[in-house]
Amino acid sequence: MLEIKNLHAGIDGKEILHGLTLSVGTGEVHAIMGPNGSGKSTLANVLAGRPRYSVTAGSVTYEGKDLLSMPVEERAREGVFLAMQYPVEIPGVNNIYFLKAALNSVRKHRGEEELDALEFLQLARQKMKVVDLDEAFMNRAVNEGFSGGEKKRNEIFQMAVLDPKLAILDETDSGLDIDALRIVAGGVNALRSEKHSVLVITHYQRLLSYLIPDFVHVLANGRIVKSGGKELAEELEQKGYEWIEQEVAAGA
C-alpha cells in the first residue's frame, strides 16, 4: 500500500529525514517510535502534504501512485488520513458542515453518491458513539474550545467517518489520560481490517498496549534504525531510547 524509499525531507530548508525507507502492506498496522527530534512528525506531515515541508530526494508510492505529486486534498480523497498532533481550531466553521463537505468530496472522488444531510447525520451519530463524543460537539465550530482530549477524539471521529485506506496517527496518544487512550485505540481498532492500513507514530509504548501493531520501527536521526514485532515496543519501554542510540552508534 505504501512504499517509502530513501526519503530525504525537511522543513524550511532544514533536512530532518535522511533517507527513510519503509514499506507498509495492506491490512497492516505499523508503529513508528522514536525520541523527540527523530523526524516522526516530519514523516507524518510530509505524507499528508503540509505546506513548508519539502522533499529533496526519494519517493513515496501509495497504491502504485506517486503520493508526493498529489495536492493535499487529493491525497485525502485517495484515502490517506492524518490524525494531527495539534488539531487547529477553526472558529466559524461548523464541525458537522465541515465533515459533511469533506465526506462528500471524498465520495465524489470515489464515484459514490453524495450523502444528504439526513444520511450524513445518521452516519455521524453512529461513528460518534465509537469515540464517545457528545452530539453537542457536532454543532460547534471545528475544535473551537475543545479540550486536548476532545480534539484528539474529534480526529478519530473524522477518521471513522471518512473511512481512509491509510490512517496516519501523529502522536494521537500524547496528553491523553487512560480512558481517552482506550477510546482512541478503540476507534482505530474499529477501522482495522484486511483493507485498512495504519501508521501509528508515537513516543510512548502506552497506546500500543491497546492498539497492537504488526510491526514496530524505531526512528532515530531521520532514519529507521531498527524494525521488529510488537515486542520491540516493550523492549523500548523498558530500556529507553538510549539503548537504541548506543546500538546504532556501535554498529556504525
Binding site: 499528508a48 502534504g49 503540509r50 505546506p51 513548508r52 495536492p71 493535499v72 486534498e73 491525497r75 485525502a76 480523497r77 488520513f81 492524518l82 494531527m84 488539531p87 487547529v88 477553526i90 472558529p91 466559524g92 466553521v93 461548523n94 458542515y97 465541515f98 465533515l99 463537505a101 469533506a102 465526506l103 468530496s105 471524498v106 472522488h109 465550530a141 471545528v142 473524522q158 471518512l162
Partner: protein, 453 residues
C-alpha cells in the same frame, strides 16, 4: 428644487427644509478628496456623470399620478430583494413608493388610505394582529405634520455634510415608521434602483418610550444608477431598536448613504451595515448617545471584489455619562477592490463612565486588494474604559491545510474560511430572514462556502 404637487399637510414643512438644504448643497458643493472625510473616495466620476445628466429622476417623483408601470416595476425582476416574514414590506423603485409591490402584515394588498390623495398608504393604526400593536407607517409625503416638524432633518446634519444636504434637498419619498409599543417582528424597506436613475430615499424611524422595533433597509438594483439615501433613527427612553442596512446594489451603481441614530436615556440600539454590492459605495453611520445609560452595538461587514470601492465612516458621539458602545467592522477584500474603515469615537468632557470598544478586522484575499483602517478615539475625560484595535491579515495556512487534508478542495476551503470570518457578524443577527438573505448574497460571491449554518 421642484414644488410638490401633493396637498398633504406635511408638504410645506418638507418644502421649507428642502429649500434650505438645497441652498446649503449649493454652498458646500460636491465633496472632494481634499476633505479629510473624503480623502479615500473620489466622487469626481460620479459628479461628472451626474452633471452630464446621466441619471434622470423617476418621472413620478413629484407625486400622483403614479409613474408609468415600466419605470416603477421594471427592476423588480431582481429576485434577491424581498424578505419573508416582514410585518410590512415597503418597496420603492428608483426612490418612488410602489404600493402594488408592497405588503402589510402578510397581506399582499396594502390597506387603502383614508386620505383622498389616491395613493395607497399603509394604515395600521388599528392592527388586526397584536404583534404589530403600536406600529404606524407612512410614506414620507403622507406622514403627519407633527412628526415631521419634530423629527425630520433634526438628526442628520445637512448643514455640514454635502451629501446629506443633497438628499435632504431632494427628499420626497421614503418611509416614516413610528412605533409606540413592543413590536415583535420587523419592517422591511426595499429600495430598488435601475439603470439611468437617481434616487433620494429618506427614512425616519421613531421608537417611542419603551418601544421595540426591528427595521431592515435593503438597497438593490441593476445597471448604473445613483442612490443617495438618508435614514434617521430616534430611540426614545428605554426604546430597543434593531436596525439593518443591506447594501446590495448593482456593481455599476453609486451608493452614498447616511444613517444617523439618536439615542435617549437607557435606549438600546443595534445597527448593522452590510455592504456586498455597489461599484462606489460610501456608508456613513453616526450615533449620538445623548441619554444616560444608552447602549449601542454597531456592526459592519463589507465584502468586495473586482473594482468595488466601499468606504465606511462611523462616528459614535458619547455626549453624556454611563453609555456604552461596542463596534465591530469586518472587511473581506478580493481582486482589485478597495475598502475603508474610518471609525471615530468621541467621548465628551461630561461623558464619564463611558465604556467603548472598537475593532476593525480585515481579510485580504488578493495581493491587489487594498484596505485602509483608521480607528480613532478622542477622549476628553479620564473616567472611561475605551479601547480600539485594527487588524489586516490573509487567510491562515493552518486552517486551510486542515480542511484540505480532509478532502475539501482548495477553493472550497478558502470560501469556507472567508465565510467563517464573516460569520462573526452574520451569526449574531437576530433576524433569521436577514441572515439567510446575506448568506445567499455571500454564496453568490463564494459559491461553495456560504451554505453552512
Amino acid at each position: 428644487m421642484k414644488a410638490a404637487v401633493n396637498s398633504a399637510p406635511a408638504t410645506e414643512v418638507l418644502q421649507r427644509i428642502r429649500e434650505q438644504a438645497g441652498q446649503r448643497f449649493a454652498q458646500l458643493g460636491w465633496p472632494t478628496t481634499h476633505l479629510e472625510e473624503w480623502q479615500y473616495t473620489n466622487l469626481q466620476p460620479l459628479q461628472s456623470r451626474f452633471e452630464a445628466g446621466a441619471f434622470r429622476e423617476a418621472p413620478c417623483r413629484t407625486g400622483f399620478p403614479a409613474c408609468p408601470e415600466e419605470d416603477r416595476l421594471e427592476s423588480l425582476s431582481y429576485t434577491g430583494g424581498t424578505l419573508r416574514g416582514a410585518l410590512a414590506e415597503l418597496v420603492f423603485v428608483n426612490g418612488v413608493y410602489a404600493p402594488e409591490a408592497s405588503t402589510f402584515a402578510g397581506s399582499s394588498v396594502p390597506r387603502v388610505p383614508r386620505g383622498s390623495s389616491g395613493r395607497a398608504v399603509p394604515e395600521t393604526e388599528e392592527p388586526e394582529e397584536p404583534r404589530n400593536r403600536g406600529l404606524r407607517i407612512w410614506t414620507l409625503r403622507e406622514a403627519p405634520l407633527e412628526i415631521l416638524e419634530q423629527h425630520f432633518a433634526r438628526y442628520a446634519d445637512y448643514a455640514n455634510h454635502a451629501m446629506t444636504a443633497l438628499n435632504t434637498a431632494n427628499a420626497e419619498d421614503g418611509a416614516v415608521v413610528e412605533v409606540t409599543g413592543v413590536v415583535e417582528g420587523f419592517v422591511h424597506l426595499l429600495f430598488v434602483g435601475s439603470a439611468g436613475f437617481q434616487s433620494y430615499p429618506r427614512n425616519l424611524v421613531i421608537a417611542g418610550r419603551g418601544a421595540q422595533i426591528a427595521v431592515v433597509e435593503t438597497y438593490a438594483g441593476s445597471g448604473s444608477y445613483f442612490t443617495n439615501a438618508v435614514t434617521e433613527i430616534v430611540a426614545g427612553d428605554g426604546a430597543v431598536v434593531d436596525h439593518y442596512k443591506l447594501e446590495s446594489e448593482s456593481l455599476e451603481a453609486f451608493h452614498i448613504g447616511t444613517v444617523h441614530v439618536h439615542q435617549e436615556r437607557a435606549s438600546s440600539v443595534t445597527s448593522r451595515s452590510i455592504s456586498i454590492g455597489g461599484g462606489v459605495v460610501r456608508n456613513d453611520v453616526s450615533v449620538s448617545l445623548a441619554g444616560e445609560g444608552a447602549s449601542l452595538v454597531l456592526d459592519g461587514l463589507f465584502i468586495t471584489a473586482g473594482t468595488q470601492h466601499v468606504d465606511n465612516h462611523t462616528l459614535i458621539d458619547h455626549v453624556v455619562p454611563h453609555c456604552d458602545s461596542i463596534e465591530l467592522y469586518k472587511g473581506v477584500l478580493d481582486g482589485n477592490s478597495r475598502g475603508i474603515f474610518d471609525g471615530r469615537i468621541i467621548v465628551r468632557p461630561d461623558a464619564q463612565k463611558t465604556v467603548s470598544r472598537q475593532n476593525n478586522k480585515n481579510l485580504l484575499l488578493s495581493d491587489t486588494a487594498i484596505v485602509d483602517s483608521k480607528p480613532t478615539l478622542e477622549i476628553s475625560n479620564d473616567d472611561v474604559k475605551c479601547n480600539h484595535g485594527s487588524t489586516i491579515g490573509q487567510l491562515e495556512e493552518e486552517p486551510l491545510f486542515y480542511l484540505r487534508s480532509r478532502g475539501i478542495g482548495e477553493s472550497e476551503a478558502r470560501d469556507m474560511l472567508v465565510y467563517a470570518f464573516a460569520s462573526e457578524i452574520v451569526d449574531r443577527m437576530k433576524l433569521e430572514p436577514v441572515r439567510e438573505q446575506i448568506r445567499r448574497a455571500m454564496s453568490r460571491q463564494m459559491p461553495r462556502g456560504g451554505e453552512q449554518r
